[in-house]
């Protein structure tokens, strides 16, 4: 079933139309809501016409892409790794529509991927968790074991082991991104065997994980995909964030300016799009020495000297050589925004969210 939830025709510039297809509900406070927020920003700050549709099954996803492309949309965001195949099929038929697969794998015709190295930020979250855990057992709750999710899990584990090599980890997959009650039961099952630090990648199903942490003394959850501190302010030391609105807006801006060309865009810590966002309310929890180590690791990751997780072959970017103007522009602009704050930090780790709340262009 597809539900057209937002079709805005009121934008002043009807020339460029942007569509977004999400694989799940935009009210998940994570992966999908971030993309929708990006779409709204595209309308509000670029004045482009926007449309959103939710498509869960491969058949629906193919159909939704085809619908936008056949209507002549200039840019379509296919929001997830799972759209890659459908995007390539549809693009072969409608080459004028630029299709951007978030978390995609390669360029093909007018299809280009945005690759978010969430594992960069999950590694830092893992370091904090590895320093804070009392039991030495970390837990992870995932929706489905998609390659980007697996990579984030690896980053989380490697980060924790960098701090404490004896760390044990446990993971549970739910086979659902909606079943919040299952998320809670999975978390409680892990709490029973001693897990006290959690990370996740389960979108709306993770709400149950946060609830379980609220109910269990001494249990903490690190958010994923969005800053999730507000879900349980006293139990979320930090979040591995993908600033989806920023990334989507950058692409739309390039399309509007006519300067967009299909290429692989990789966003890691250096870009500021992927970052570890600590929760100020729990700042006292993290000892200064640990915070210093996390910051140093962030610098190494941004500089490319530390690899948080090896990406599986299915996720290796296969690119035809193309300039990476977008991400280098971003890195520059992130660096500038930091210099504006005293130039204390060389990479955008542990930045307060206010630094990024204002549009940067």
């Amino acid at each position: 079933m597809m539900a057209f939830t937002a079709c805005s025709n009121s934008a002043p510039d009807p020339g460029v139309r942007v569509g977004l297809i999400t694989p799940g509900s935009i009210a998940d406070a994570a992966w999908n809501s971030g993309a929708y927020a990006g779409l709204q920003r595209i309308r509000d700050s670029l004045g482009l016409a926007i449309s959103h549709v939710e498509a869960r099954t491969p058949a629906e996803q193919d159909e939704a892409l085809r619908a936008y492309a056949s209507q002549g949309y200039d840019l379509v965001f296919a929001h997830g790794f799972e759209f890659q195949g459908a995007a390539e099929r549809v693009s072969a038929q409608y080459p004028t529509t630029a299709i951007v697969v978030t978390s995609g794998s390669r360029t093909q015709g007018n299809v280009s991927p945005l690759i978010f190295k969430l594992e960069d930020a999950s590694y830092l979250a893992g370091m904090v968790a590895g320093g804070l855990t009392r039991s030495g057992i970390l837990g992870f709750v995932g929706g489905i074991e998609l390659p980007p999710i697996k990579a984030a899990y690896e980053g989380w584990v490697n980060g924790a082991r960098a701090v404490n090599p004896k760390i044990q980890t446990r993971e549970i997959y739910l086979n659902s991104f909606d079943d919040a009650a299952a998320g809670r039961e999975a978390a409680l099952a892990l709490v029973r065997i001693g897990v006290d630090m959690f990370h996740h990648n389960a979108d709306a199903a993770a709400l149950g994980l946060f609830q379980a942490a609220k109910e269990s003394p001494g249990v903490y959850v690190f958010g994923a995909n969005a800053d999730q501190s507000s879900l349980a302010p006293e139990r979320v030391p930090g979040s591995a964030v993908i600033d989806l609105p920023r990334a989507l807006l950058l692409v739309a801006k390039a399309v509007k300016a006519g300067s967009f060309t299909p290429k692989v865009e990789v966003f890691g810590l250096a870009s500021g799009v992927v970052r570890y966002e600590p929760n100020p309310a729990l700042a006292a929890l993290v000892p200064p020495a640990l915070e210093e180590r996390v910051r140093a690791a962030a610098d190494s990751i941004a500089a490319g000297t530390l690899v948080p997780a090896a990406r599986p072959a299915s996720m290796q970017a296969r690119k035809r050589e193309a300039p990476r103007a977008l991400s280098s522009a971003l890195a520059l602009d992130a660096a500038q925004s930091h210099r504006g704050h005293g130039g204390r930090r060389s990479t955008p780790v542990m930045v307060a969210s206010s630094e990024f709340s204002a549009p940067l262009w």
Binding site: E171, A180, A181
Partner: protein, 304 residues
């Protein structure tokens, strides 16, 4: 030793928690199906109940949420009854339509009410109410007597539903309607009314089941959060042979298999997790094939 006892006790409590919404929905569906109505809208009604509980709890606390969820469940079931019993539409199609409609409608209403940020986790919820004395029993105490209110309601409803179905004239009329509506009509039973009431009662239970997910478990709403529990409940009615006691056993079996699945995954064995996820469903299939051979559905089930 005590450690494994604590783990076992925790596992049993998890099994009962997972079973609670299934037991509530399946108990209601037992009443409905005994009257000859197959309500595939159960999944949608549970989802409606879950959203109603969220809205009610936001406005006036968890008890109001519970009450509103039951009312909305009954209302949605009445809608189904009007179409499937009043207008004699095909029950399977009407039920499926109700579920599909509820999935879209709950999502839309939820986004209208709370925006894309969602309701968060600030909702007032129903904490576990340990029953003094009984909750101290080793192993079974925490599992059965340290649970939130919806679990107690589910357990209390079982003997009540059994008594009404098998020990009252109303129950006799209801079962007669399900077994042979024409005959029951000839005997003076107002079968249309009986079926409508049985469907609405089933809807109330399903609404409560949805509310238990929100108020006693997750603490917030998520779109499609019922995740197929309505359909599982319908299978449980079959597995439980249309009898409250059987339904209770089947719900607990499914709850235990699900809880066990999490335990297996948490062991960190080098086995694909999908195998464990299959466990509750595989077990249900096996039980259906093995134990239900002799069971017989109400003869007029699904007939207009």
């Amino acid at each position: 030793m005590t450690d494994s006892l604590v783990l076992l006790s925790g596992f049993l409590a998890a099994a009962v928690r997972v079973a609670t919404p299934l037991l509530l929905a399946a108990t209601g569906e037992t009443v409905t199906e005994r009257a000859g109505v197959m309500n595939l809208g159960l999944e949608g009604i549970m989802l409606g109940g879950a959203l109603a509980a969220t809205l009610g709890a936001t406005a006036a606390g968890p008890w109001a949420g519970l009450a509103v969820a039951v009312l909305v469940g009954m209302l949605l079931a009445a809608l189904f009854a009007a179409v499937a019993i009043g207008a004699r539409a095909d029950q399977i199609i009407a039920g499926t339509a109700l579920t599909l409609g509820a999935v879209g409608l709950t999502g839309t209403i939820y986004r209208q009410a709370y925006g894309i940020g969602g309701a968060g986790l600030a909702l007032p919820t129903l904490a576990p109410l340990p029953i003094p004395g009984l909750s101290q029993i080793p192993l079974l105490g925490p599992a059965l007597f340290d649970q939130p209110m919806p679990t107690y309601l589910a357990l209390l409803a079982l003997p009540l539903v059994w008594w009404v179905l098998f020990r009252t004239r109303t129950g006799l009329a209801l079962r007669a309607t399900g077994e042979g509506a024409a005959m029951a009509r000839a005997a003076g039973v107002r079968t249309g009314l009986v079926r409508t009431v049985a469907t609405v009662v089933g809807g109330g239970f399903a609404g409560l089941a949805g509310a238990s997910l929100v108020l006693a478990q997750v603490g917030t709403f998520a779109e499609r959060m019922t995740a197929g529990r309505g359909y599982v409940a319908i299978a449980i009615v079959v597995l439980g042979r249309w009898h409250p006691l059987g339904v209770a056993v089947a719900s607990l079996l499914f709850g235990a298999a699900t809880a066990l699945q999490y335990v297996f995954q948490s062991l960190g064995l080098d086995v694909p997790y999908q195998l464990f996820l299959m466990l509750p469903y595989g077990l249900t299939l096996l039980a259906l094939a093995g134990a239900v051979g002799r069971a017989r559905a109400p003869a007029d089930l699904g007939k207009a």
